[in-house]
Symmetry: C2
Subunit: 334 residues, 2 copies
DNA sequence: CTGAAAGCGCTAACAA
DNA sequence: TTGTTAGCGCTTTCAG
């Protein structure tokens, strides 16, 4: 067994209470005993047991993060932002890859409950009733990232998708495009689907006058493969589109890839704008113009909110983050 | 406070020991009391406290994963493999983004030690003496992924980089290339640098006869940006290279991107082969031919080894995983 | 400034 | 089959 606080106390000829005070820097010890105890700790290589500590203090210094996938740059970047903030404050993060699967999510939540995490960050997924139920039973702070809940009082941090989507479409319109298709995710998706479609339509209609016609292709997810499939439909559609607004970078890159296969040049023959502005947007050929979400900052901010809730007990203010339009080389003026 | 085992015991008119037995399915209770207790648990919404449990059982059902970055597909995929396996067995994983920073790594290790994790998976980084020292003090199993230690008895799972690198180069040679450059990572990197360079050289020399000349461009990391910079050097080099072997997919894509900028067509003017076979390889234009590492399986396997070590107490056998060559569209025969 | 002692919620002998 | 009890390693009153 590794040494416990008792061993330290004994060897230093003090009580365990004193050692505990020194460890936690609580008032009630002299400099002299402090140095003595510190030396013993050093000698013994003593390491406080966070488990025991957690049992009495009811604070585990661990938070749980639930996300539908670990596999895209989007998730990675957010996680990165959370992780940095949490570790800065001496907390650890347990990742849970829900795989968009209800059973799995519920199982993870139960584990997190048993582990008595101090808080939960829930990313990119719709907060179902059943999830919220078990989460609220845990009585720990929750914050949502890149999603929100119309039904429950859970603070979120995200960008205004409708606005950002509007801006993306408007950007295309300003470049002279009129026949603009959207690769949209699912219209059943209340978070990443509906609002973006709404923004797209609003921009199209805002132009008022003309023939600006819509073409929306829904996809099951936001992957490269879905982007390719969607593009096939767009290319073969009678409406000869000059620009495409894709709901994620992967979707956009998939679309570009399919276009390329069909001999369609980007941006000469067709303009494309993506969404998220992940590293992938920088790495594509040509580099992808995209609506940018400050993913790292969102992760960071969510952690900040979570910790503030843990400390104050008050619900944090939700936070709408600014989007940007990162102009690169896939959109041309016509 | 949420209900404890005591509350359950009282309400069910049994002792806490009985409840504990039922919870852990240890012999010593009748079906009758079991159903009764289970019902009470249900009614109370009781959830066992893993912290208290861990304090006595000395098992936290939590493992720590250390990786230099969360931000590339490489790390994501491995983490995914680990996470799936761990959660399958009811354990959680704490991620630690070391950022390739010694101080930070050491800090994380200390936290993991205090949290009494059951084991550690260390990914992609050189196992420094100082790391090993604190890890071995923790007296928990460790396994290495995509790295290895010549000095310490720590099992690893990785592919044979030298062999894979040899194969990649040989593949290029077989396609008729003779002037093959390598974008190599750092020659100081004993894990991802040295062996791959060695394999590359060996293949070049194996051809025996001819003018097969080497051109190695080192990079600081394995990023897209480094790939671009390396490619600039290669293009401007007097040795007119016909093929490039890059030590990572990102490096390869960066190289392609730079080539593209200079009007060099892939693969007509120049062939490129990458390393890792992440999703990025599939998504690049044109799709990248690459040496494939079974990243998900490596993550999975490492977790399997770790858990087996935790259970048996014996050191697991290291494991060399098979590489593949994924032929796509960036290499042409000349 | 310091120590004794009572738990935190649970598991694991040991009795009954 | 069941209950009693002694910890696990720590924090936190409460007395000195």
């Amino acid at each position: 067994m590794d040494p416990t606080i008792k061993d330290v106390a004994k060897k230093a000829n003090v009580s365990i209470a004193t050692v505990s005070r020194i460890l936690n820097d609580k008032p009630g010890f002299s400099v002299k005993t402090k140095t003595k105890v510190l030396r013993v700790i050093e000698e013994l290589g003593y390491q406080p047991n966070a488990i025991a500590r957690g049992l009495v203090s009811k604070r585990t210094h661990t938070i749980g993060v639930l996300m539908p996938t670990l596999l895209d740059m989007f998730a990675a970047r957010i996680l990165n932002g959370i992780d940095d903030y949490a570790h800065e404050l001496g907390s650890s993060v347990i990742v849970c890859n829900t795989d968009n699967n209800g059973q799995r999510t519920l199982k993870y939540l139960r584990v997190l409950a048993e582990k008595r995490v101090d808080g939960i960050i829930f990313v990119s997924e719709y907060l179902k009733d059943e999830y919220y139920k078990v989460m609220s039973d845990m009585k720990v702070p929750i914050v949502l990232v890149s999603t929100m809940s119309p039904d429950y009082p859970v603070p979120f941090v995200k960008v205004d998708d409708e606005l950002a989507s509007f801006a993306a479409t408007e950007y295309l319109l300003k470049q002279g495009h009129r026949r603009i298709a959207m690769i949209a995710g699912s219209p059943e998706d209340p978070i990443a689907g509906v609002p973006r479609i709404k923004g797209y339509r609003a921009a199209l209609n805002a132009e008022g006058d003309e023939e600006a016609k819509e073409l929306i292709v829904s996809t099951q997810d936001f992957s490269y493969e879905s982007g390719m499939m969607a593009m096939e439909k767009i290319v073969d559609h009678p409406l000869k589109v000059t620009a495409v607004f894709a709901s994620s970078d992967e979707l956009a890159v998939g679309a570009m890839s399919y276009a390329n296969k069909r001999g369609i040049r980007i941006p000469e023959d067709l303009s494309i704008i993506g969404y998220d502005n992940t590293r992938l947007a920088q790495m594509s050929t040509p580099p992808l113009t995209a609506v940018g979400q400050p993913l790292y900052e969102m992760g960071n901010k969510s952690a900040e909110m979570l910790f503030s809730m843990m400390n104050t007990g008050e619900t944090a203010e939700s936070c709408l983050m600014p989007y940007t339009i990162e102009e690169r080389e896939t959109v041309t003026r016509i």
